[in-house]
């Protein structure tokens, strides 16, 4: 444990969140400790901390970014787990950021076209943004949902697969760690 602590400052580094612009292969750019130019979190966890850190929801995707801790003695299995989680995070971030942006954009366009059809301006006299009521928006919601149906099906399949894989890997890692700890304790007891 003490040896690990000495190594930590130099050997360990934080794997930052791979943003939508970063590479898709498990965040290889971030592995070198570089921050991707867009949307990388500015937060740096304290050096002594040995756990992951989770941040506030992203403005576009509403997902919370995680900064993963890389222990100096990370095993191959643990690395696979971390990379799977990073990949899933990146993929989710890309999907939802794009999806929410499209939603907002299409909603604006819809409101604009409807208001124009009614002969109204986007902003009324007091400068307030004009909105349509829920019943008028219902057409847009229905349309948007049906347009994105196939995209959602694909994403669901993807998400379920990733989720199961990550949880299974977590289980394996936990099991290995537990066995290691038992072996260590047995050794200590024997001594």
């Amino acid at each position: 444990m003490a040896a690990a602590r000495v190594l930590r400052p130099s050997a360990c580094c934080r794997r930052l969140l791979s943003s939508s612009s970063a590479s898709c292969n498990g965040g290889r750019a971030a592995e070198r400790g570089e921050r991707p130019d867009s949307a990388g979190p500015a937060f740096r966890p304290p050096a002594h901390s040995r756990s992951d850190w989770i941040g506030p929801p992203d403005t576009h995707s509403n997902l919370r970014p995680i900064i993963f801790y890389v222990p100096p003695e990370e095993s191959a299995l643990e690395r696979r787990l971390r990379e799977a989680r990073q990949e899933a995070q990146a993929s989710n971030q890309r999907f939802w950021a794009r999806h929410n942006r499209a939603f907002r954009q299409e909603k604006e366009e819809f409101i604009y076209s409807r208001l124009k059809a009614k002969g109204l301006e986007m902003r009324d006299e007091s400068g307030q943004k004009a909105t349509l009521n829920a019943e008028e928006m219902a057409d847009f919601y229905k349309d948007f949902l049906s347009k994105n149906f196939k995209k959602h099906l694909q994403y669901n399949r993807d998400w379920y697969k990733r989720n199961f894989r990550i949880t299974f890997l977590m289980g394996q890692v936990a099991l290995v760690r537990a066995l290691r700890w038992l072996r260590w304790r047995k050794k200590n007891v024997e001594q």
């Binding site: 829920a134 219902a138 949902l145 994105n148 989720n163």
Partner: protein
């Protein structure tokens, strides 16, 4: 010693049972009142939010008192898992308030970019370490298992148990309730495990433990397994195999059918209604050991109730459902949504009339329940005709008190077990019910 109690058919035996029943009924009422009160409080607060502009958007810590409320909201109408009785949705966010929030958020964002140094520490404070904190675990697990919803599920199962035409057995009742509660916790946890990215994107569900990283997915699954397996085992071995089988079936129906179907087809609403109908059936089978007409009737009443409840609720969540990719009738088939709600309000009247025919209640039940059933049908008709926020809200809030009241009235009109045995007795009391109670 051996005590033999000779009881005449005067109903002396009823007293201990009645006490338990009264307690249960009072409990039911209490849950209803509390639950309804929470909703009102939440509703009023939301109104205030719209009325009074806040300089700063609310931080997470302020939201937490309403976590429990958020549990009530089950997206789906029904009490899921073993489906909660009333997935109460609380969010009636109005487009205007949301726009306001968005404007506030965008204002905050521009502020942040202008003064990076000042807000950096504020942003930094919002980052949390993902470490397991044992002190927080009870609260986290309660939110993970949607504990309030689970409580409602258990209360419907208890109602099913109470309505069964057999003498009340306390141990069986407690085992059935506890087993149902555990199964419900398991199903709710798995549901949250499956829905993390979707929950993050919906206002109602964005503060759930898995979304916030307070618990790892592995732990959530382990918790679900450690609730579900003992729960089903308890039901199968401690109560009867039929109840255990129904519990297991309901968990699978909720987690493996309803949850994925929500994003594929509007059929999810009907599946969810079945999920909600099963707990009272489980209560009945726990008491009687068999699946008879009375169980199916109680299940039918809960099934029909789900539609006005959920359809009215989902009317106000159309934006979130559309963006989140959920296939709900209110978005894709709005006409059908309102028709189905009305249809099932009316069927509640029909089902209430069938109850005395099946000897579950006396004929006073359809008569006493007619006013409340007519009222919800009237609101259902208004919702069908007007199709606007106010009518959907009225219908939703009505459904919240309608179900507990209906179950209460049903219980008070329950056909007494002894009265049934009475019918065959000649006068003179030569037939006495003899009960042996062995004392150690």
């Amino acid at each position: 010693g051996l005590f033999v109690w000779r009881l005449r058919n005067t109903g002396i035996q009823q007293i201990p049972c009645q006490f338990v029943h009264l307690y249960h009924v009072a409990n039911n009422r209490l849950i209803t009142f509390q639950y309804f009160n929470f909703l009102k409080r939440m509703y009023v607060t939301r109104c205030n939010k719209v009325l009074s502009q806040r300089a700063k958007p609310k931080s997470d810590s302020v939201v937490s008192p309403y976590h429990e409320l958020q549990q009530l909201d089950q997206e789906k109408k029904v009490v899921n898992k073993i489906s909660p009785v009333s997935p109460v949705h609380q969010l009636w966010s109005e487009t205007s308030s949301r726009n306001e929030l968005r404007e506030m958020k965008s204002a905050a964002e521009t502020e942040d970019s202008v003064i990076p140094v000042g807000t950096e520490s504020k942003e930094d404070r919002r980052w949390k370490e993902m470490k397991l904190r044992l002190d927080d675990m009870p609260g986290i697990l309660a939110r993970l298992s949607k504990i309030k919803l689970t409580a409602l599920v258990v209360s419907t199962a208890s109602a099913g148990f109470a309505m069964a035409p057999v003498p009340f057995e306390l141990t069986c009742f407690l085992l059935a309730s506890f087993g149902t509660g555990l199964a419900s916790c398991a199903a709710n946890s798995i549901n949250q495990f499956f829905e993390v990215p979707f929950d993050s994107n919906m206002n109602r569900t964005k503060n759930r433990p898995l979304v916030r990283g307070q618990i790892s997915p592995l732990l959530a699954v382990c918790f679900a397994a450690s609730c579900g397996i003992p729960g089903i085992a308890l039901l199968t071995l401690g109560v009867n195999p039929l109840t255990g089988a129904l519990g297991a079936f309901n968990i699978i129906l909720y987690t493996c059918c309803y949850t994925p179907l929500k994003r594929m087809s509007i059929v999810n609403t009907w599946v969810g209604a079945v999920v909600g109908a099963i707990p009272p059936v489980m209560g009945w089978t726990a008491a009687t050991g068999s699946l008879d007409a009375g169980a199916l009737l109680l299940g039918g009443i809960l099934y029909s109730w789900q539609f006005p409840h959920f359809n009215a609720l989902s009317w106000g969540l159309r934006e979130d459902y559309s963006r989140g990719g959920y296939c709900m009738m209110s978005v894709t088939h709005p006409g059908l949504c309102r028709r189905v709600a009305l249809r099932h309000c009316l069927s509640l009247i029909g089902l209430s009339t069938v109850a005395p025919v099946l000897d579950i209640t006396t004929w006073t039940f359809p008569i006493i329940s007619l006013p409340i059933n007519l009222y919800i049908s009237y609101l259902g008709f208004r919702f069908y005709r007007d199709a606007d926020r106010s009518s959907s809200r009225k219908l939703f809030f009505c459904s919240l008190w309608h179900l507990p009241m209906l179950l209460l009235v049903m219980f008070t009109c329950k056909k007494s077990v002894l009265k049934k045995e009475d019918k065959g007795d000649p006068p003179g009391g030569s037939h006495e019910t003899v009960m042996e109670i062995r004392l150690p």
